[in-house]
């Protein structure tokens, strides 16, 4: 479903270019859950961004469902994200002027495939029932992250990319959010790749990959 081959990315910095990713290769099957662990700056986030089409690699190939995405233009990559990929961020990134219900439905509506029953079911499972009319600022951090997960899953993505989604949450809430995410990914058959610095959370994934100085190591 996802195959990454010889991916290289270099960022400029004040001390000269930094090789963030060095010839990284990776294959992920549908329904698989993969934890990317590693230090801050090891290249986890960059890998996620490249797979999500938010950024372009310097070299290498990313094939998502058979499509080479690093060659696509901005609009095509945006369409791919909209239709196939779900992104969950540490900062939740909700739209403050939309209600919880509107935020959850946003990506599905952008993609033009709103499944009302699925969204209602999802909202129920995320424990957000009854909060639909509230605005994000009226929710706790855990609730906001659940809204963000709901927004991603409402669209039934084939691939969920999560970048430290529990980083802003306390341990208990983080565990609950992760359970939801893993469960829902399984329900929808989506592949899940999550970057985390927590070995404890990584234990719950079917595969664990350690990122060290831009290279992957099986953990």
């Amino acid at each position: 479903m996802l195959s990454v081959t010889d991916l290289t990315k270099t960022y400029p910095s004040t001390e000269g270019p930094v090789d963030v990713l060095r010839a990284v290769s990776l294959a992920v099957n549908g329904g698989e859950s993969v934890a990317l662990t590693g230090e801050s700056g090891s290249g986890k986030s960059t890998l996620l961004h490249l797979i999500g089409g938010l950024d372009r690699p310097d070299s290498g190939e990313i094939r998502l469902m058979g499509q080479e995405i690093s060659a696509l233009g901005d609009a095509a990559r945006a369409r791919l994200r909209r239709d196939r990929v779900g992104l969950v961020f540490q900062q939740f990134n909700l739209v403050p002027s939309l209600t919880v219900a509107q935020n959850i439905a946003l990506q599905a509506r952008l993609a033009g495939r709103v499944d009302t029953r699925w969204i209602a079911d999802l909202t129920e499972r995320l424990g957000l029932a009854g909060l639909g009319a509230r605005y994000p600022e009226q929710l706790s951090g855990g609730q906001q992250q659940r809204v963000a997960i709901g927004r991603t899953l409402a669209n039934r993505p084939a691939l969920i990319l999560a970048d430290e989604p529990t980083g802003n949450l306390d341990e208990e809430t983080g565990d609950a959010v992760l359970s939801l995410m893993l469960g829902l990914a399984q329900t929808t058959g989506a592949a899940l790749i999550m970057a985390t610095h927590s070995q404890r959370l990584a234990q719950r994934f079917s595969r664990r990959i350690h990122v060290r100085r831009g290279r992957l190591e099986a953990a």
Binding site: H49, G52, L54, D55, D74, A75, A78, R79, L80, R81, R82, D83, V85, L87, F89, Q91, N93, L94, V95, P96, S97, L98, Q102, L106, Q107, R109, L110, A111, Y135, E137, G141, R151, T152
Partner: protein, 799 residues
């Protein structure tokens, strides 16, 4: 569509911001389009005056040295086969108002000089041609009955306002002039005529086409337009600031939308559509407001144009779809301009950039330096145009560069001033206050620049008007020395009145006057007798020695400042007043408020060289104590209508009334502009206040009360406003100088000494302090009411 609705949802959550944006844009559009509506109405009036009924739209023949055309010349031309038609034209005061009288000869005039019929079909040609007389006037015209004329006035839509269009025989009776002022040269002439030059020495003059009026009033309209643009610019400051804020606040949303699959091009399209929709809504409101502004100001503008230039414009405003379209267009362009920078930023925003809302419009020290350099360059341009430029457009360029340059320099100047204050202050709180104010400065600078523009314009214009007023009053005292002014029905009655008054007064001075043209431009020529009244009081600016003696000998002419400046005349330069009368300039006198050239010669010369002269008015010098007695005596001896005898005081009052009316529009626009600037400040403070919590919360945590913090907020704003006022003061005075020494000279033809009015400045300071207290008070009140939990949130998450 979901993306667009998501963008719009921002405004639903921030209705105040939306209101600010719409109101700002609507106000800007309103003032601009209001001014345009007034200008357009005036232009239409001028065009009507030239192109509608009456004889102005035709090529004409005039006497070579000005003055009337002899009737024999007219007959000679007709008998030679040339198709020409005589017109007697002049002005007449009826019911205290000055009317243009145009007498045409219907039998020979081109058909479109007179209405074919009025709306009710009640034009009686034989009544028009003879009898008591009929005259056409503009629709809606009201003329007070006057005993000197018994005319039937017929309103007609195609007659220009202020014009009495009648038969030549009626005009002859009204104006006491039997020789035509000019001849219309009909466009189609028979074949085989003798050369015009072999028949007559009259000169061909092109059709008027309203150019005289346009030229005269250009400066006034340019003035209005400048004000309109100033207001529009101030309004755009608001719009730019609000759009910038709205975009900054939504940066995370833009990023999220793109992350979840919205292509950049569609995001930009949605934002452009959003700005366009808002601009259309605001533009529509603005155009409606503009119409109201114009309708409210138009009567004053009409008064101004009449008293300054003798130009008649209709008092009612017509709604023109084209104008409304242009108003909407300018709102759109303004909004797009204001949004361009923000859109550019969105387009270039990297998808992975930190999504934190940066402080709104946080200008770096570097951009402030750049602004300062640009400002200094503009000031240099302003100075250069003031020194080297000529002409009205250059005058306004000078003004524009001055204002814009000063505005751009303002943030830097304020920053410097704050640094200077900080150096003198001690104590941690004071240091924090100054540091925090400087940090706030970039966010407030646009609003403060708008305030600077408005304050400077206010100071400049009120200094100009005030200087004008003082000078004008002094000049009136000088010029209006006679105790009584008597208007008779005609020259003969005036002579009888003078004879009657001679034994009981110190002097009776005929006011003898005629109209002529010098180098194609209209000039009034007055004839005076030798009397101390003139010698002691006439406001001469420049003079040769013994000018009054030389004048009474008929050796020199006095000209007013307008004429001297307009024709570049200096003492001793010859002026050709009539074909057979050319005199050197013996003196130049100030003549404020008069749009046209004026010349004074000895009465004797006037009578000899100008055939019909109006001597129906008389100035009377008496012991002021005797005033009532003499008035009673005149009224007993002569059957004079009301208003025929006026005393000096009434004339002064009337003159001052005209003066006040002249500047009422300027005053009104001034206040409106200041209002818009105040609103800009309020809008900026309101939006800034929403970002103030993170800055204020630490102070609160450190132990300052909310009340004290709120007070500090107000004081900081006041400090900025006072500093801005301090910068506006010299800018405003510079503005006044440019208005008085450059623009007025070009526009009106006279130069006034500049005077300063510190009391006005203080009043303006207190006004702006009051309004900024209001503006800062509301957000401060919000701070006061912020629950501690809200302040705590600053520490618990980063919003």
């Amino acid at each position: 569509m979901p993306a667009f609705l998501t963008l719009l949802s921002h405004w639903r959550r921030h209705p105040g911001q939306l209101a600010t944006l719409i109101l700002g844009l609507a106000l800007a559009t309103a003032l601009w389009s209001g001014v345009q509506a007034i200008n357009e109405e005036a232009r239409q009036s001028y065009a009507r005056a030239a192109a509608t009924l009456g004889a102005n739209g035709y090529e004409r023949l005039e006497a070579p040295g000005g003055g009337p055309v002899r009737r024999e010349d007219y007959i000679a031309l007709r008998r030679a086969g040339w198709l020409v038609s005589p017109v007697i034209r002049g002005r007449m005061d009826i019911g205290g108002e000055s009317w243009r009288v145009m007498g045409v000869e219907p039998l020979t005039a081109p058909p479109d000089t007179l209405p074919r019929t009025n709306e009710r079909g009640e034009v009686d040609p034989s009544a028009f041609l003879t009898g008591a007389g009929q005259a056409f006037v503009a629709d809606g015209t009201e003329i007070d009955p006057d005993r000197r004329i018994s005319l039937e006035f017929i309103p007609h839509p195609d007659v220009a306002p202020g014009l009495i269009l009648t038969d030549i025989a009626v005009a002859e009776r009204m104006l006491g002039q039997s020789d035509p002022t000019f001849l219309i040269l009909l466009p189609d002439q028979p074949a085989g005529l003798p050369d015009l030059a072999s028949v007559t020495d009259l000169v061909r003059v092109q059709a008027e086409s309203g150019e005289d009026l346009s030229r005269l009033t250009d400066s006034f309209h340019l003035n209005l337009t400048a004000f309109g643009f100033l207001s529009f610019a101030v309004g755009l400051f608001i719009v730019h600031a609000t759009i910038g804020l709205a975009f900054e606040q939504r940066r995370p949303v833009f990023r999220t939308l793109r992350a979840i699959g919205l292509p950049l091009s569609r995001l930009i399209t949605a934002l452009v559509v959003e700005v366009t929709l808002i601009a259309l809504l605001a533009g529509a409101i603005g155009v409606m407001l503009g119409y109201l502004v114009a309708a409210a100001l138009l009567p004053d503008v009409a008064g101004t144009l009449r008293s300054l230039y003798g130009a008649e414009i209709a008092g009612a405003l017509a709604f023109r779809p084209l104008w409304a379209g242009v108003g909407l267009g300018i709102a759109l362009v303004g909004a797009w301009l204001s949004a361009a920078q923000a859109l550019w930023k969105v387009a270039r925003m990297p998808l992975l950039a930190a999504a934190q809302p940066r402080a709104w419009a946080m200008a770096s020290a570097r951009s402030m330096r750049g602004q300062a350099v640009a400002g200094a360059a503009l000031l240099a341009v302003s100075l250069a145009t003031a020194v080297f430029g000529t002409g009205l457009v250059m005058g306004f360029l000078c003004l524009g560069a001055l204002l814009l340059g000063a505005a751009l320099l303002l943030p830097g100047a304020l920053s410097l001033a704050l640094r200077g204050i900080a150096a003198r202050l001690h104590g941690p709180l004071a240091e924090w206050v100054i540091a925090d104010t400087r940090q706030q400065l970039p966010g407030l600078s646009l609003a403060l620049m708008a305030l600077l523009l408005a304050l400077a314009a206010n100071i400049g214009v009120s200094t100009m008007v005030g200087s004008f007023r003082l000078t004008f009053l002094g000049w009136l005292d000088q010029r209006l020395v006679s105790e009584l002014y008597v208007t008779a029905a005609d020259n003969d009655e005036a002579a009888e009145i003078r004879a009657f008054l001679a034994p009981m007064t110190d002097a009776t001075l005929p006011i003898a006057q005629t109209e002529t043209r010098v180098e194609g431009r209209p000039v009034s020529v007055y004839g005076i007798v030798d009397h101390a009244t003139y010698r002691d009081h006439w406001p001469l600016l420049e003079t040769i020695p013994d000018v009054w003696e030389r004048l009474s000998q008929g050796a020199v002419v006095l000209v007013n400042e307008q004429m001297a400046r307009g024709k570049g005349l200096s003492l001793g330069d010859p002026v050709r007043l009539a074909p057979d009368l050319s005199l050197p300039v013996g003196g130049v006198y100030s003549d404020y408020g008069n749009p046209t050239g004026q010349a004074i010669v000895s009465l004797d010369l006037l009578e000899r060289h100008f055939a019909p002269i109006d001597q129906s008015r008389t100035a009377v010098r008496i012991d002021p104590e005797q005033r009532q007695t003499v008035i009673a005596a005149i009224e007993a001896a002569f059957d004079l209508p009301e208003g025929a005898v006026v005393d000096q005081e009434s004339v002064k009052r009337a003159s001052i009334r005209v003066f006040e009316q002249t500047f009422r529009v300027t005053g009104a626009l001034n206040i409106l502009t200041l209002g818009v600037a105040g609103f800009a400040l309020l809008a900026s403070l309101m939006t800034l206040s929403t970002m103030r919590l993170p800055q204020v919360a630490p102070l609160w945590a450190l132990g300052e009360t909310r009340a004290r913090l709120a007070r500090i907020e107000v004081v900081k704003t006041l400090a900025l406003v006072v500093l801005t006022w301090g910068v506006a003061l010299p800018v405003g005075l510079a503005l006044a100088w440019v208005l008085l020494a450059v623009v007025n000279v070009e526009a009106f033809g006279w130069r006034l000494p500049m005077q300063v009015f510190p009391r006005d400045w203080l009043w303006l300071l207190s006004l702006s302090m009051f309004s900024s207290t209001l503006a800062a008070g509301y957000p401060a009140l919000g701070l006061l009411r912020t629950p501690p939990s809200q302040l705590l949130k600053v520490f618990s998450n980063e919003r």
